[in-house]
Symmetry: C2
Subunit: 222 residues, 2 copies
Amino acid sequence: MNVTLLGGTGDIGEALALRWARDTDHTVVVGSRDAERARERVADYERALSDYGADGDLVGCGNAEAAARGDVVVCAVPAYHLTDTIDAVADSLEPGDVLVSPAVGIKHDEAGAHYNRPGAGSVTALADRAAPEGVPVVGAFHNLPAAPMADLDFEIDADTPVVGDDESAVATVVDLVEAIEGLDARRAGGLANAAEVEGLTALLINLGKHDRDLHDVWVRFD
Amino acid sequence: MNVTLLGGTGDIGEALALRWARDTDHTVVVGSRDAERARERVADYERALSDYGADGDLVGCGNAEAAARGDVVVCAVPAYHLTDTIDAVADSLEPGDVLVSPAVGIKHDEAGAHYNRPGAGSVTALADRAAPEGVPVVGAFHNLPAAPMADLDFEIDADTPVVGDDESAVATVVDLVEAIEGLDARRAGGLANAAEVEGLTALLINLGKHDRDLHDVWVRFD
């Protein structure tokens, strides 16, 4: 399977690319608005994998080509670029592809981080509105700290909630979550339940501000 | 110290009463709108403690008397009774008392549970608006499953976020949290950050609907 990371050159993109490259046999397609930048980052990721004694199947290209190649397409871009990014690749997506949205809207004030809920209900719902007909959207990876995830020596022991209305698409993403060593998927229902998943990220940021040990915090539900 | 549970006859009230009675030397004051009902429930709690081979210092009375006795007063009532309950006991609270709000507003639809955010910003903020001058409000215990917590054989291994603007009051509540065996307080900042703490409860309910093992779910941040 080809797993594409649009905006795969950013922090969470890097983390997911390295983990999937190491832990799965999938081809990880790293997309960027700048194809040359995507290729440079893939070279960085390959060096990082080699430094960790691992390898993987990675390729870098522009976002549209990356979307065309992907069976699962993760929009690893900030919330304010999400709709633009999906619009820019919409013609490259095919019915049956699965679009994954990990973005969260956060606003900061003197008290801390707050969930900036879009009028659509959630950022994941914004992705769903922007997605072409026949391309289901699944929300996942909203609450993961990119830095320790990109450190392949770090042993993950955490959960990530998954939301979506299309059961087959959700199952595909659950498999992709659980292909990452130590990471477990927790189903939280349909897209209408995405706001509470995204809001958790603001809570995690606030916990990290008050406890250095929680700066890169993971969550376990049990 | 006297720790009061307004609405201490309900599910989360019972859970906190049993844990504090067993795990601390504090007097646990169980309040109810019906003083006789409070005394009956205290008899139930004493029997339960005895069944678990434990004991504790419990007393039952009406909410106003319970509030007057308490150094820390926990509003263990549903969100829709919160303001009324605080108003009804306001004359019994003294400056320096600490008011604790564990209530969360949840609405349910066909998709699942959703955080029903009040116009005040959070339910904890509603408690703060209703509290008398000089009585600081701290948010805590929002995300705890009452049933396993009331089972004293169950070994807790979980976190609860704590929010508040008054550092001394927060420290008092953090100590009360951590006096419960296996439960750790996690500071999440000021009252303005309460919404994300309360919203987590809706996520937990949704997780429980999709995974029987998460029906009574706890959270660990690490």
